[in-house]
Amino acid sequence: MTTATVAAAPRTIRPRKRVNQARVIKSEWIKFWSLRSTVITMLVAVLLLVGFGLLASSMFGDGSDPGGPPGSEPTDVVGASLTGTNFAMLAFGTLGVLLMAGEYSTGMIRSSVAAVPKRLPVLWAKIAVFTAVVFTVALAGAAIVFTAGQAMIGDGGASWSDPGVARAVIGTAVVLTGSGLLGIGLGALMRSTPGAITTLFGVMFLLSGIAALLIPDSWSDVVQYLPSNAAGAFTAVAQGDNDLAPWAGLSVFLGYVVALIGAAAWQLKRSDV
């Protein structure tokens, strides 16, 4: 019963290595790519981003409705090629939810926490892997659809060097990644895939419209601070009268992401899994 007895146990794995953040990131990298649902959801997100962008670009200027959600009809050439952002937001958001809430719904979280009992490194690693992969994929998708879209629009199409264009394209990737991170945060807080997806959709799509209807005019400034409006201010080349300035929009949007992830971290650290 002394420590000597414990040390007498045979150890076939030598040396015993410690858990560190880099190793947990590697573990989350393996987890990310070994789920079919993750890869499929990501492909769908890219298809939505590129597909709707090309569709809107091909119809730009001929007066037909590209089929986006109400309020998202493009008014500018850059916006037309990035029409798919709203749909891709849903898909990347869902991906974030699946990644985190899936751990709870399957019970995997208990294995994950038993391997990394300090817990928070698991959340940070998930965020790191998700951000790296999704930002890369979303940026590639946004760049491709912007370039192809402008080529389809032809005369009057924007170019990368036009003011605000680079910000809009890169911003699209930032906002898509951010919505996924909101999904991770909600997934960790709610621990339920359907609940988190519903909440995310409600906040990103319905809240803005409902708020515009219900909030009295004197309070209408509030609407621009909603996550979807703040994100939109950053990705638009030209901001509307009721929009925040682009960088203010980014700050507000990232503020929501940080707050939600912070709440998720606090919850993960203290509660039973």
Binding site: M1, T3, T5, V6, A8, A9, P10, R11, T12, I13, R16, K17, R18, V19, R23, V24, K26, S27, E28, I30, K31, S34, L35, R36, S37, G102, E103, T106, G107, M108, I109, R110, S111, S112, V113, A114, A115, V116, P117, K118, R119, R270, S271, D272, V273
Partner: protein
């Protein structure tokens, strides 16, 4: 070694684990017994830092599990077979866990072979049977070659071959000097593998004892005596400290006197004895006797439940 001190877990006004204190020593298999709902799984989860105790402490090899820099090497656990993402293959599941602490892929292959899952290792876990899931859980428990092995109901869903394999595995692990802590609600299962027992009921400690000690405290040994001269024998063995229970014509059950003593007295008095049997209560009987007041979900016979 596992040390649990005054460990308590309350959910609202329900107390699942109520001030448990015990030590699980290395080198032997320690059984953790109790009826369903006694708090065994909750206790195990608190030892592994999955559930936060309301009060008290649990340490693994001298410190809280989460304070170890190399947790999977300190303790490996089978908590329930469902702690796996069903969309992932067994191999990828183990590979991801192994990566957290730099365990090489060769070790992943090794534990897959040990539990006999090599043929299905690349298939999605969602299609696994209960027994296969259990084997995967055991593979993840062994992954880090840990000093402490914690198994929650490991034989659930296993076929007889699997049950036998688990028994041998637990004994091997203990003989290598590891701490083996295994829960069960079946006393008979523990009797075959465990050397030491911790019995709880309704979250409270009932017994912390060796297996043989457990049987002695739980129910008394008795002697069954059959003789054609029952009355003469009855007078001979009745006395302070002995209880004689007449079971049938010419058949007694005696407690408080050894079989040798009864036989010698009968021989001295010239009373023929047709049967002299030591009756030891089975482990299951001993267990039920001990935990009868602590059963969470008591079943009653129809008609008896009035």
């Amino acid at each position: 070694m596992i040390e649990v001190h005054d460990l308590t877990k309350r959910y609202g006004d329900q107390t699942a684990v109520d001030g448990l204190t015990f030590t699980v020593k290395p080198g032997i298999v320690t059984g953790f017994l109790g009826p369903n709902g006694a708090g065994k799984s909750t206790t195990m989860r608190m030892i592994l830092g999955l559930d936060r105790p309301t009060a008290g402490t649990a340490t693994v090899n001298g410190r809280p599990y989460e304070d170890h820099p190399d947790p999977l090497h300190q303790a490996g656990a089978l908590l329930d077979a469902k702690a796996v993402h069903t969309g992932r293959s067994a191999y990828q599941h183990l590979h991801a866990l192994a990566a957290t602490t730099g365990i090489p892929k060769s070790r992943v292959d090794e534990v897959i072979d040990v539990v006999g899952l090599h043929q299905v290792a690349r298939k999605r876990v969602g299609g696994f049977s209960l027994g296969m899931g259990q084997r995967l859980g055991i593979a993840s428990a062994l992954l880090g070659d840990p000093d402490v092995v914690i198994l929650d109901e490991p034989t659930n869903g296993l076929d007889p071959e699997g049950v036998l394999w688990i028994r041998n595995l637990m004994r091997d692990l203990a003989s290598q000097g590891r701490t083996v802590f295994v829960s069960s609600h079946l006393m008979s299962e523990m009797a075959l593998t465990a050397e030491h027992l911790i019995v709880i009921g309704k979250g409270r400690m009932i017994a912390d004892t060796s297996v043989s000690g457990f049987i002695e405290t739980a129910a008394n040994e008795s002697v069954r005596v059959r003789s054609p001269h029952a009355n003469a024998l009855h007078d001979l063995i009745t006395g302070p400290g002995t209880t004689v229970l007449s079971v049938d014509r010419g058949l007694f059950e005696v407690t408080g006197m050894t079989a040798e003593d009864i036989g010698d007295r009968a021989a001295a008095a010239g009373i023929p004895i047709h049967e002299l049997t030591v009756v030891r209560p089975s482990l299951e009987e001993a267990f039920m006797e001990l935990t009868k007041d602590a059963v969470e979900y008591q079943s009653t016979l129809i008609g008896e439940a009035r």
